[in-house]
């Protein structure tokens, strides 16, 4: 939701980044304020996921130009774990499996590390158990998730719910959801979306990276951006997503090129 007294959470200027020497992001500009939900859409290979991973600090990506301010601070001065502790959260498109590590242990370590960084109370295993079970209700997750190894043998939908559960635990300032809707059936999509909607508030900002409009029926964005060839070429409101759904992406690119030609 757009608020009058909102603060800028993230300000990206002219961001370029490469992976294995190939330039994926080419001068991207993007700004999001507290309370807002933005959707980033675009065809495969346009750089949406790369943008998400660069913000989180994945080491495979090299930033070659531009700046990113997170709550006014240079994000690139922070290591990936410092960004997470500062409140940058990435819900992974493909959450990795960690065999042998119980989900409950992992979640508690993560929660306590972030809490400690924020000068807040850490929880012992029993307290944490109560706390996490409460959060799991939000996502209609069964308690046996806690005893299973992190993401191991989880279905696609279970993995995505586990991601949103972590978002609920860590209470981030900026949440980037990278194709959280992919691989979800209708019920799971509804549950996950409801979870995200409940977590959205006037102090945090949410970026939805997605291919499909259907997610946006559940989580209604304030802005929709279209990405192509490593930059944002069009921005609109939620109706833009509906238009993309019926017309595809090609017309946006053509329109952009026409605009660029006249400038």
């Amino acid at each position: 939701m757009i608020y009058q007294d909102s603060k800028t959470i993230l300000e990206v200027r002219g961001l370029s980044a490469t992976v294995n020497g190939i330039e994926i992001l080419k001068g991207l500009d993007f700004t999001i304020k507290s309370g807002e939900v933005h959707a980033i859409m675009g065809p495969n290979g346009s750089g949406k996921s790369t943008f998400a991973k660069v913000l989180a600090g994945h080491t495979a990506y090299e930033v070659t130009a531009g700046s990113v301010l997170f709550e006014g601070k240079n994000l690139f001065e922070l290591a990936p774990e410092e960004r997470a502790r500062a409140g940058v959260f990435l819900a992974f498109q493909y959450p990795i499996e960690i065999p042998g590590v119980a989900n409950s242990q992992f979640l508690r370590l993560s929660y306590n590390t972030v809490q400690a960084q924020r000068g807040k109370e850490e929880l012992d295993p029993l307290e944490f158990d109560d706390f996490v079970r409460e959060k799991m209700k939000l996502l209609e997750m069964s308690p046996d998730f806690l005893d299973r190894s992190v993401n191991e043998g989880f279905s696609g939908g279970e993995k995505k719910r586990n991601e949103i559960l972590q978002m609920a635990l860590l209470d981030p300032r900026l949440a980037i959801l990278d194709e959280t809707d992919s691989g979800l059936d209708i019920d799971a999509l509804r549950i996950v979306s409801q979870g995200v909607n409940q977590l959205a508030n006037k102090d945090n900002a949410i970026v939805l990276v997605t291919h499909y409009q259907r997610l946006l029926n559940y989580i209604v964005p304030d802005f929709v951006h279209v990405m192509e060839a490593g930059r944002i070429i069009k921005t609109g409101d939620k109706d833009l997503a509906l238009e993309l759904e019926s017309r595809g992406y090609d017309w946006v690119g053509a329109e952009h090129q026409a605009t660029m030609a006249t400038v």
């Binding site: 290591a79 990795i96 993560s110 590390t113 860590l170």
Partner: protein, 478 residues
């Protein structure tokens, strides 16, 4: 390997200091006179000298084994000293008489020698180079008839027990290193649990090699009579020398009817530096005889040190319904090499064995599991379950599994499972994105990987082992 992983594995060895203590060190080299010298220094009975000389003769005809998946220059066995002992009063009546320098050494290593300091009530025998320097809680154990002392003392005070069992599980000519040990062993621990006695505390031996260019040849013998049970733990460290040290131990366990022996090892000998210079050659023969019906022998080992480890704690399941277990975590880093595993020899009916092996390789190290499961013709209804998992850290380390399965009774059931996994960048990034740094992430992944083994360790040592692994692998993630 990323820089983070690198830094994690490459922590300095914390036990690498040398104690400045006056020692009685024998000249280098080995011949019959060396053996007579050792025997004489220990005032040994004639039968033991004969045992040694017979072993020596057998050893002379043997070849150093080369089948293990480890590589090192040939060891010059004439260039090491076979006896080193700190000079002190020959007989100690209380801890206060122990050389304070020695006490400080063990305090530094975290081994509580002062009985008042012994936290969890663990009885400790301490072997420094070639001799046992202290044994705690002896009197208390004697009240229930348990004998826990150094091997030298046992030879003098309980010769009938030593003579009855020594070399019965690992015969003098068993293999090259066992034969060498039988000829020149200097000290070790002896433990006898009488019929029906459950040992009231953990027994523990702490081995320390201090003198450069010495070999440590310890000999441990544990006997559990009918219905007895004992849990025993050994720990090992050595200073950081640029030359290699040889450690060739023999451990024999005997469990009679309904007896139960649990033997745990936390081995942290000096492993050499990051270029593979120095470190202990750990060539050890450990074997248990589950002689009686319903007897049980369980080996748990956490192997983190040594330049080279060659070690196969085994169980001969002779008694009907006897049980053998082997739980192992072996960690190698830098240029360490480990070839370790077990042998489960099923002879009795309905015998059962379990093997759980976890190998972790980091740096440029090489870690092999080698295990034999043999079901002999009389072992009707025998069962074995083996699980061998390897974890690779970085992209320059190696892991191998060499299972040998020989089944000669068609009523037996043998299962073998193996897996290989890798701590990857993407796992670490996932942790990082949740606020957790690489060090804590690796520690959690490794502990998860090893938990089936750690839960077998006595509690105090499980904590120690967990910390040791953390130290060992700090810097390996990168």
């Amino acid at each position: 390997m990323s820089a983070v992983l690198q830094n994690l594995v490459n922590q300095p060895y914390k036990h690498g200091f040398v104690t400045d203590i006056e020692s009685d060190v024998a000249p280098k080299g080995l011949d019959e006179s060396t053996i007579r010298m050792i025997s004489a220094k220990k005032n040994e009975p004639e039968w033991l000298l004969e045992f040694r000389l017979k072993s020596y003769q057998a050893w002379l005809k043997m070849e150093e084994p080369t089948w293990a998946n480890v590589h090192y220059p040939k060891i010059d066995l004439q260039a090491i000293s076979y006896y080193a002992a700190p000079k002190q009063k020959p007989k100690l009546n209380s801890m206060d008489e122990v050389d304070p320098e020695l006490l400080r050494t063990f305090e530094k290593l975290g081994v509580p020698l002062h009985e008042r300091m012994a936290l969890a009530g663990v009885a400790v025998d301490v072997v420094f180079d070639s001799v046992s320097v202290a044994t705690t809680y002896k009197a208390k154990l004697a009240e229930v008839g348990i004998i826990f002392c150094s091997m030298s003392e046992a030879v003098l005070e309980h010769p009938e027990l030593v003579q009855k069992y020594l070399g019965t599980v690992v015969p003098t000519g068993d293999n090259f290193y066992a034969a060498l040990n039988s000829a020149v062993f200097t000290d070790g621990s002896f433990c006898y649990i009488p019929k029906g006695v459950k040992c009231p505390m953990e027994l523990s031996t702490y081995f320390r090699i201090n003198t450069e260019e010495t070999g440590q040849f310890e000999r441990t013998l544990i006997i559990a009579e009918e219905g007895a049970s004992v849990s025993y733990l050994e720990g090992c460290t050595a200073p950081a020398f640029s030359s290699n040290q040889l450690h060739a131990a023999v451990v024999e366990l005997v469990a009679l009817d309904n007896a139960d022996i649990k033997y745990s090892t936390v081995q942290n000998w000096y492993a050499g530096d990051e270029n593979g210079v120095g470190g202990v050659y750990n060539f050890v023969t450990k074997r248990g005889l589950a002689k009686g019906v319903n007897s049980r022998i369980s080996w748990t080992q956490v192997e983190t040190g040594s330049a080279i480890t060659w070690k196969y704690p085994s169980v001969i399941l002779r008694g009907d319904n006897s049980v053998g277990e082997f739980y192992s975590v072996a960690v190698t880093n830098h240029l360490q090499q480990a070839d370790t595993g077990t042998k489960m020899i099923h002879i009795g009916k309905n015998t059962r064995s379990t093997i759980v092996s976890k190998g972790i390789s980091a740096g440029r190290s090489n870690n092999s599991y080698r295990g034999l499961v043999r079901i002999a013709p009389p072992a009707a209804g025998a069962r074995n379950y083996s699980q061998c998992d390897s974890m690779l850290i970085g992209d320059q380390s190696g892991a191998n599994t060499f299972p040998y399965i020989q089944v000669r009774n068609n009523t037996a059931q043998v299962e073998h499972e193996a897996s290989t996994s890798k701590i990857g960048e993407d796992q670490l990034f996932y942790f990082a994105q949740r606020g957790v740094d690489a060090e804590a992430a690796v520690s959690m992944i490794i502990n998860g990987f090893c938990k089936d083994v750690f839960k077998q360790l006595p509690m105090e040592f499980a904590v120690e082992a967990t910390q040791l692994l953390g130290l060992k692998l700090e810097g390996s993630v990168g």
